[in-house]
């Protein structure tokens, strides 16, 4: 009908700013990155050489491996700790529970530069705890290097745990009291209940949260930058130095690494879904 077509033009026009902004600053850059990853360094030819460079370089492959390992470990530790902590929170009544959740909310915001900085002053080479423990003769921190693999995992875990707690605690309310009671009457101990019923029911939520934590860690830049600068081989730091540093820029190589990073994140998510359906056949 003519009337509705005319009526629709005006609102469509109002959406123009949105369309332009999304095209220019969300979708456009993604496409530009993908396009750039298939170009040679001078931008002249269409080629796969950027990807070849990545996979043939021990350095970049190591970077990918480091990022994946650190993300896997920190996400894994965080989700397990968060499950226990979230369960404990749900055992408290209203007010206490809300306050605990508020604390989790606030500490999940403590990330990036400030977080790394805090850890540096506590556990860095001249850090408070480092010196304190040394003075007291405690060896536990003697071999510890904050600016290493373990240090990164430690700092990542700090902000991932509260985030995971917030994402995962609602799932505990999906576990019905009657299930526990029925299981108990059928002879199950607490352990058996969690193993056969509790954990499987929590699994979708936990798996989804793990995906988010992993992706979050893979893409983390500020925290790593403040902690180790360019002294550690991480894919997010590599990308940054290839596209935005003062040293020799190779934006197309950076694009290739960017595409790889995004691909790893997507692949993990899909793998996660697949494994979940294996475990919970009732969700198909």
């Amino acid at each position: 009908m003519k009337k509705s077509n005319h009526r629709r033009q005006y609102p469509l026009l109002l959406m123009l700013p949105f369309v332009l902004l999304v095209a220019g600053f969300e979708l456009g850059p993604l496409l530009a990155m993908i396009k750039g990853s298939f170009l040679s360094d001078d931008g002249g030819r269409v080629t796969l050489e950027q990807y070849v460079t990545v996979f043939q370089s021990k350095y970049y492959v190591q970077g990918i491996r480091n990022s994946v390992m650190i993300s896997l470990f920190s996400a894994g530790i965080s989700i397990v700790v968060a499950l226990f902590a979230a369960y404990s929170i749900t055992r408290y009544s209203g007010k206490t529970r809300d306050r605990l959740l508020m604390i989790a909310n606030m500490t999940s915001n403590f990330e990036g530069i400030p977080l790394s900085f805090s850890y540096i002053i506590l556990l860095g080479n001249n850090g408070l705890f480092t010196m304190l423990f040394a003075r007291w003769g405690w060896d536990v921190l003697a071999g510890f290097n904050l600016y290493s693999w373990t240090g990164l995992v430690l700092v990542y875990v700090y902000f991932q745990i509260p985030l995971a707690m917030l994402l995962v605690y609602p799932a505990f309310y999906g576990i019905q009291k009657e299930w526990r009671e029925a299981a108990s009457l059928l002879g199950a101990t607490s352990f058996h209940f969690w193993r056969h019923i509790g954990v499987p029911v929590l699994l979708p939520s936990a798996a989804g949260t793990f995906s988010i934590l992993f992706a979050n860690a893979m893409g983390a830049y500020a925290t790593a930058y403040a902690l180790v600068g360019s002294n550690y081989n991480l894919i997010s730091l590599q990308i940054a130095s290839l596209v935005a540093s003062d040293v020799a820029l190779r934006p197309n190589l950076g694009s290739a690494l960017g595409v790889l990073l995004a691909s790893i994140m997507i692949a993990t998510m899909l793998l996660n879904e697949r494994l979940l359906r294996q475990w919970r056949r009732d969700l198909r």
């Binding site: 299930w179 009671e181 029925a182 299981a183 009457l185 059928l186 199950a188 019923i197 009732d282």
Partner: protein
């Protein structure tokens, strides 16, 4: 010898007493029902027997053994919940087998198969709970509790969430299975018809106490007090003064009178009444009539209180509102409360 014995159970939640020195006995194979309104304590008593609630005082025995403070999983008691409580991540088979798995029973497979047959769920072994109807889920819950051969089966308003037709069918199924297995059963409901259909013994509960126990027909015909009378049926309950006004005579030594609606004879007053000997006879007027299928329920005004009168729906014409009637009640049918 009592198979299940509950002695002087006491339970309070904060200031509120929920169970007040309740005692109960069941013989082996008996189907007992706890009947009462919401909040009377029947579910709490059931859960106390199951061990899901800790009692403040009293003792509980099953098959001669005291289980008052034992963990639920050691009591050999089965329970079916109103919300079914089926484990969502397991198939019908796996749900039923769960208890056997906990016992590491080697015979599990055949036992599960037999149980599925017993509850008529053939063909649904591999289904998940969310794929089943309410009635089917409840049958799985029943099978799951029975397959581990508990000493006592507890049912907490298990049919409350189902609609009428399915509820009816399951009631029959339940009775059949209970008879076949000779399972000692405690059933909780607020539905008096359900209680009377299914039970060997009915225990009426009110405010944390058992106010009357007995076979359904006995409790129905001889309610011990006005509360039971009003709860168990549509009894006409009135004070002695009201009765005197209505029937024109004093009732010796009673403060309240209860009369079942089906024992009141009623005829239009044009007809010459032949009241049976030894009966109270008085007049009234039809004020309302409800057709309940096979029963006609009249509400009749009298010189005393309004009466409910039930008559079997035979070929006689329904008496319209406004009809003057003559009513009579045999003296033996009056239930007197001191």
């Amino acid at each position: 010898m009592n198979f299940v014995a509950v002695e002087q159970i006491q339970k309070s939640f904060g200031q509120q007493t929920v169970l007040d020195r309740v005692s109960l006995q069941l013989k082996k194979g008996e189907f007992a029902t706890l009947l009462g309104q919401s909040g009377c304590g029947k579910s709490t008593l059931l859960r106390a027997i199951a061990g899901l609630v800790d009692v403040d005082g009293g003792r509980i025995f099953i098959d001669g053994r005291e289980i008052t403070h034992e963990e639920p999983r050691k009591r050999k008691v089965g329970m079916v919940f109103q919300s079914y409580a089926l484990f969502p991540n397991m198939t019908v088979e796996e749900n039923i087998a769960f208890g056997l798995k906990m016992k590491k029973d080697r015979d599990a497979e055949s036992k599960v198969r037999r149980m599925i047959e017993l509850v008529h769920l053939n063909g649904k072994e591999k289904a998940y709970p969310h794929q089943l109807s309410g009635g089917q889920q409840q049958r799985v819950a029943l099978a799951r509790s029975l397959v581990v051969e508990p000493k006592v089966l507890l049912l907490d308003e298990p049919l409350g969430a189902l609609d009428a037709k399915i509820r009816h069918n399951l009631q029959n199924e339940l009775k059949r299975i209970q008879r076949e297995l000779m399972m000692t059963t405690v059933f909780v409901t607020h539905d008096r018809e359900e209680a009377m259909r299914l039970s060997d013994t009915v225990h009426i509960m009110h405010e944390g106490r058992i106010v009357q126990s007995g076979a359904p027909q006995d409790v129905y015909a001889s309610p011990r007090n006005a509360f039971v009378a009003e709860f168990i049926g549509n009894y006409n309950v009135m004070s002695a003064e009201q009765f005197a006004r209505m029937a024109g005579g004093e009732v010796p030594s009673a403060s309240q009178v209860a009369i079942r609606p089906e024992v009141i004879c009623m005829e239009p007053s044009e007809a010459e009444p032949q009241p049976p000997g030894d009966a109270w006879s008085f007049r009234g007027k039809v004020c309302d009539i409800t057709m309940m299928g096979n029963v006609l329920r009249y509400e009749v005004t009298t010189d005393g209180p309004n009466l409910l009168v039930d008559q079997l729906h035979r070929n006689q014409a329904m008496l319209p509102p406004g009809t003057p009637v003559r009513l009579s009640v045999a003296r033996s049918e009056l239930i007197l409360y001191p």
